[in-house]
């Protein structure tokens, strides 16, 4: 972390896909032209790495150009789930295909290794690898195999741990474990404990030079704070562009610990409207009222995959400009 500037800027995870790739991946796996897909995915990853570097992002992501969704990519890839053909309603006229866990993993748990190596060979800047956390891998899908939710989460934790071990052995220094589902059952303390135990098993014994991030979104974070600090992450990347007053209240009551980092979300990841540099700067300055400059990271609220590409690029551009302004005033 020493070579990074103050207020380091990172991306969160997903970035918009080229339309032809997005269309192609909607087809069932067995109907996809795998060679064409791989080529298109590699081109898209390389393009996003170059774009982020040119924008001045300090820690890059590969944009998850090869993942259909944050759950099915892993569960299908590990061989433990099938996709239910009857898509489930999400909102408006949008329906999502859900994975159904049916068996223990049958394929190796090193899906991310060659994508990391592909990115590392192309990026000059630091890379952050994102992996879906075990609690979300269970909560957002259906399960016909494990006896209960906890058993499924802990089984998924073992598979994620194997992915992470392979990545760390290959040189990964920034690792983000996404747990957007962590905030959803906040009224059930036992659920939060299972999610925490899952992440502990993944992180146990990792070398000190590896920085663990976690990311949560869609959240009533104030419902799970300060409990969320039991997650063994060094940096918490949260959706805070429209921070709830309740969250600021609770941060005043329980100040964020000085030895943890906050990846403060400063641009909306759902709304295509591009925030101005001034708007984003004001959000960063609000963050500085609650966090010391040395513990703050600046990032979008979430992966930017649902906004159009031009909008994602413009948001990142303004995010970088706003961060530079604040850095100058801190210097």
């Amino acid at each position: 972390m020493s070579q990074l500037p103050i207020l380091p800027i990172s991306s969160i995870g997903s970035l918009p896909k080229p339309p032809d790739l997005f269309q192609a991946e909607m087809a069932p796996l067995e109907q996809q032209d795998r060679a064409w897909m791989r080529q298109a995915q590699e081109t898209a990853v390389a393009d996003w790495l170059a774009t982020q570097e040119s924008l001045g992002i300090d820690v890059l992501v590969d944009g998850e150009q090869y993942r259909r969704s944050i759950t099915t990519y892993f569960l299908e890839g590990w061989g433990c789930a099938d996709i239910d053909p009857d898509a489930v309603w999400v909102l408006d006229n949008m329906y999502g295909q859900r994975a159904v866990i049916k068996r223990p993993a049958t394929e190796s748990r090193t899906l991310l290794l060659d994508w990391y190596q592909f990115a590392a060979a192309r990026a000059q800047s630091e890379l952050k690898v994102t992996v879906t956390g075990p609690y979300t891998l269970r909560d957002w899908v259906f399960d016909l195999h494990y006896p209960d939710r906890a058993a499924a989460v802990l089984a998924m934790a073992e598979y994620v741990r194997e992915e992470v071990q392979a990545l760390v052995a290959a040189g990964v220094r920034y690792l983000q474990i996404d747990e957007p589902a962590f905030v959803t059952r906040y009224d059930q303390p036992a659920e939060l404990d299972v999610a925490i135990e899952g992440m502990r098993r993944i992180c146990a014994g990792l070398p000190e030079h590896v920085t663990i991030f976690t990311h949560m979104c869609y959240g009533a974070f104030h419902e799970v704070y300060p409990k969320m600090l039991e997650l063994p992450a060094q940096v918490f990347c949260l959706e805070l562009a429209h921070v709830a007053p309740e969250m600021l209240d609770i941060l005043r009551q329980h100040p964020f610990p000085a030895d943890r980092g906050m990846g403060y979300g400063v641009v909306d990841a759902q709304d295509p409207r591009v925030e101005s540099v001034e708007e984003i700067e004001a959000r960063i300055r609000l963050a500085l009222e609650y966090f010391a400059p040395e513990q703050l990271w600046i990032n979008p609220d979430c992966g930017l995959q649902v906004v159009p590409r031009e909008s994602a690029v413009a948001k990142l551009e303004n995010l970088v400009a706003a961060t530079h302004r604040v850095r100058q005033s801190l210097a």
Binding site: D84, W89, L91
Partner: protein, 338 residues
């Protein structure tokens, strides 16, 4: 024991459904807005056909009190907003922990009703298609209020009372159209930070029930523990039925709470887990029904899914409903044997 459903159903099968296709086709030819969807006669015709299909599917699965089968083009929170057209409906918000998203209201003024919501005409259409009793489901005024972006005059007791009046008027219209049952969805009040708002829900239910005195008004509370709110709910004047969740983490605490059950309110017992794809066995369902009937007479109890089956793939939703119906009907049989 009667079997009822709880709100809307999934439609897509193998990626397809005529309504899904019709909405996509409509979106390509117009500027899609909720009002434009409502005005579009082609879309409304496909929605009406979908109602017929879903009514038949529920009956075939063995349900005794059916949902109207209405599937909105956007989501249910828009439906009531159509009754107050000067209100803005804003971005989608995640609803509870269900991974589904509903568009929240901007309440910046005291809302004013300007005609009935599409729920009423959907009920009339369903009632013209079947003689089986129907139970239209409405998200309740408290849920809309709790999720709303409330500002100024929209964040006042007058605004809430006006919302409740809108619901009461729609429920009165449903009753006038022949509805014997109406379900009001207010699960959010069981969430820790909303429980203190129970008096608002009580005020709403009493007012709505008084607008339709011959209709059984069921308040449905999924995904939560009833706990110390059970008796206050049972004491709401006019409450006809209470829906509770007896699945997953809520099974044990809600079974324990039933020891306090009193009066002749119907219990809509959510015993089939509407958020798990695993279809319960008849033995599982009978075990829960036995535990319930220790405190609530079987004839005052309806078997139901724990919440809307919308969260499941379509095949699983109807398999679950069929298993629920056969378990509840055979439980009935068992209880009446000498």
């Amino acid at each position: 024991m009667l079997v009822t459903t709880s709100g809307r159903f999934p439609i897509v099968s193998n990626g397809q459904h005529p309504l899904r296709a019709a909405v996509e086709e409509w979106r390509a030819r117009v500027t899609p807005t909720p009002e434009a969807a409502w005005q579009d006669t082609e879309l409304r015709a496909v929605q009406a056909e979908t109602q017929a299909e879903l009514l038949a599917a529920q009956s075939e699965a063995g349900a005794d009190i059916l949902d109207t089968g209405y599937v909105p083009v956007y989501d249910e929170w828009f439906q009531m907003a159509r009754a107050a057209p000067d209100l803005e409906v804003a971005a989608p918000l995640r609803y509870l922990d269900t991974n589904t998203y509903y568009h929240h209201w901007v309440l910046d003024k005291v809302p004013k009703r300007n005609g009935e919501s599409p729920i009423v005409s959907a009920y009339r259409h369903a009632a013209s298609l079947t003689d089986v009793p129907l139970k239209p489901t409405l998200f309740g005024p408290y849920t809309i209020y709790a999720y709303a972006d409330r500002q100024g005059p929209g964040d006042t007791p007058e605004a809430f009372a006006a919302l409740v009046d809108m619901w009461a008027a729609d429920v009165a219209a449903l009753a006038a159209a022949g509805a014997k049952y109406v379900q009001i969805e207010e699960s959010v009040v069981l969430r820790p930070k909303h429980r203190a708002d129970f008096p608002l829900v009580a005020q709403a239910v009493e007012r709505i029930a008084s607008a339709a005195p011959d209709t059984t008004v069921v308040v449905h509370l999924a995904c939560g523990e009833i706990g110390d709110l059970l008796l206050p709910f049972l004491e709401i004047p006019g409450l006809g039925g209470l829906g509770l969740d007896f699945t997953d983490a809520y099974r044990a605490p809600n079974l324990a709470a039933l020891k306090q059950w009193r009066g002749d309110t119907f219990l809509q017992a959510g015993i089939a887990d509407a958020r798990s794809i695993r279809v319960e066995t008849e033995a599982d369902l009978h075990e829960t029904l036995n535990a319930i009937s220790a405190n609530v007479p079987a004839e005052r109890c309806w078997a139901a899914p724990s919440t809307t089956l919308l969260h499941l793939p379509r095949h699983a939703a109807f398999e679950k409903l069929a298993k629920l119906a056969s378990a509840a009907h055979s439980f009935n049989g068992k209880r009446t044997l000498p």
